[in-house]
């Protein structure tokens, strides 16, 4: 290593002392660390680590851009997690070399492509584990600045054992591995369906409390739905399907199919008395297959 300091010679004692001000490592790793510190300082100075810059990830992303290498287990793991966890999503894979001298430029290009993709909700950039030198790509200043310039929130997922990449600090969030990133970004299907089911059941109960004759029927159905909820073995999606179907069948508006209609004023109030419809008043008539605009001729 190099040491920068001031020497002092003690002639009488025959000693030389060196007061070191700075020590610089000379090995390759030391150089890389120095470079990383320089980049870190530059990015920090530009405010790229600022917590206020961090954007939130959408709770139910629909389209995810994935910037990683086509070789390697990382991509395969990400796809596996996605298929297991949340099917209602499309992955846009933007391939890029993730190690070697060409990698930073390749990643910057790929991130540029992500910015040109319309309707992408978020981006994941990452790779699986590797040597310190290999992972150094994710400390590259150009790559970090390209991550910061993304139009959509970005999750950095570099397979470190312990270290942190600079892309982790610039991105809106980071995960220790690419598959962990997907676990974090994708909602759990089972949990989401359960949530929707409980809302469906409360919907039935909520209306049931208010509609005299319908109340008993609705409440019974609500209870049936709650029972169905405990059927953990059934495909959650099939369960939800069943719910939505039941609720639709429960709607008081179903009676419209038998020839009844509902008249509503423009603000949604249901018409019950002639006084609500002075001549000339506009209203809508809800019949079984839609709304009809209407106007009162009398009284």
């Amino acid at each position: 290593m190099y040491a920068l300091g001031g020497p002092t010679v003690f002639e009488k004692r025959g000693e030389l002392s060196l007061s070191v001000v700075v020590m610089l490592p000379t090995s390759g790793i030391g150089q890389a660390q120095l470079a990383k510190e320089r980049v870190r300082a530059a990015l920090e100075k530009d405010g790229l680590f600022d917590p206020d810059r961090k954007r939130r990830f959408p709770a139910h992303p629909r389209r995810i851009a994935v910037v990683t290498s086509l070789d390697g287990a990382a991509l395969h793991d990400m796809i596996t997690v996605t298929r297991r966890r949340w099917r209602s999503v499309r992955l846009y894979l933007v391939p890029a070399q993730v190690q070697g001298a060409e990698a930073p430029a390749a990643l910057v290009r790929a991130l540029g492509v992500v910015n040109r993709l319309t309707k992408v909700d978020l981006c994941v950039i990452g790779r699986g584990g590797g040597s310190r030198e290999d992972l150094g790509t994710f400390d590259d200043e150009r790559v970090c600045r390209a991550v910061a310039a993304l139009r959509v929130p970005c999750m950095s997922a570099v397979g470190h054992e312990t270290d942190v990449s600079l892309t982790d600090l610039v991105a809106d969030g980071f995960a220790p591995t690419p598959s962990a990133a997907m676990e974090r970004l994708l909602p759990d299907l089972e949990e989401t369906v359960r949530h929707a089911e409980s809302l469906a059941s409360r919907l039935a109960h909520g209306l049931g409390r208010r509609t005299g004759l319908l109340a008993a029927r609705l409440l019974r159905s609500g209870d049936r739905m709650q029972m169905a909820m405990s059927h953990r073995l059934q495909d959650p999606r099939a369960r939800l399907d069943q719910y939505a179907g039941q609720l639709e069948a429960l709607s008081p508006l179903k009676v419209l199919g038998r020839g009844y209609s509902v008249a509503r004023l423009p603000d949604g109030t249901v018409v019950k008395r002639t006084a609500q419809l002075p001549a000339g008043t506009g209203f809508t008539l809800r019949v079984s297959d839609g709304d009809v605009d209407a106007r009162s001729l009398s009284p």
Binding site: P58, A59, H60, P61, R62, R63, A65, L75, H76, I79, T82, R83, W86, R87, S88, V89, R90, L91, Y92, L93, V94, P95, R109, V113, R116, L117, K119, D121, L189, T192, V193, H195, A196, L199, A200, R202, L203, H205, G206, L207, R209, R210, T211, P236, R237, L240, D241, Y243, A244, L247, E248, S251, P252, L253, R264, G268, T269, V270
Partner: protein
């Protein structure tokens, strides 16, 4: 028709929460309850459509020599 590209599922679930709270409130009258119920069923239907989608799709995006983006299906 909800925008399929935005986070419509979150919006549907959030709105369903509001609707259910509205229906559960003591002071909501029947007219309003009916409207809320109707909207709730529509929101639930839209959430169900999203949750019952068949399979996650993986597509590869490449930039060709002319700078055009090409999107093709990717088989892992």
């Amino acid at each position: 028709m909800p925008d399929p590209t935005s986070d419509s599922l979150s919006a549907d679930l959030r709105r369903l929460e509001e609707i259910v709270r509205g229906l559960e409130a003591e002071d909501t009258d029947l007219d309003r309850a009916l409207l809320l119920f109707e909207e709730g069923v529509a929101r639930l239907r839209s959430a169900r459509e999203r949750l019952t989608e068949a399979e996650a799709r993986v597509q590869k995006v490449l930039e060709d020599a002319a700078g055009q983006l090409r999107v093709t299906d990717f088989e892992a």
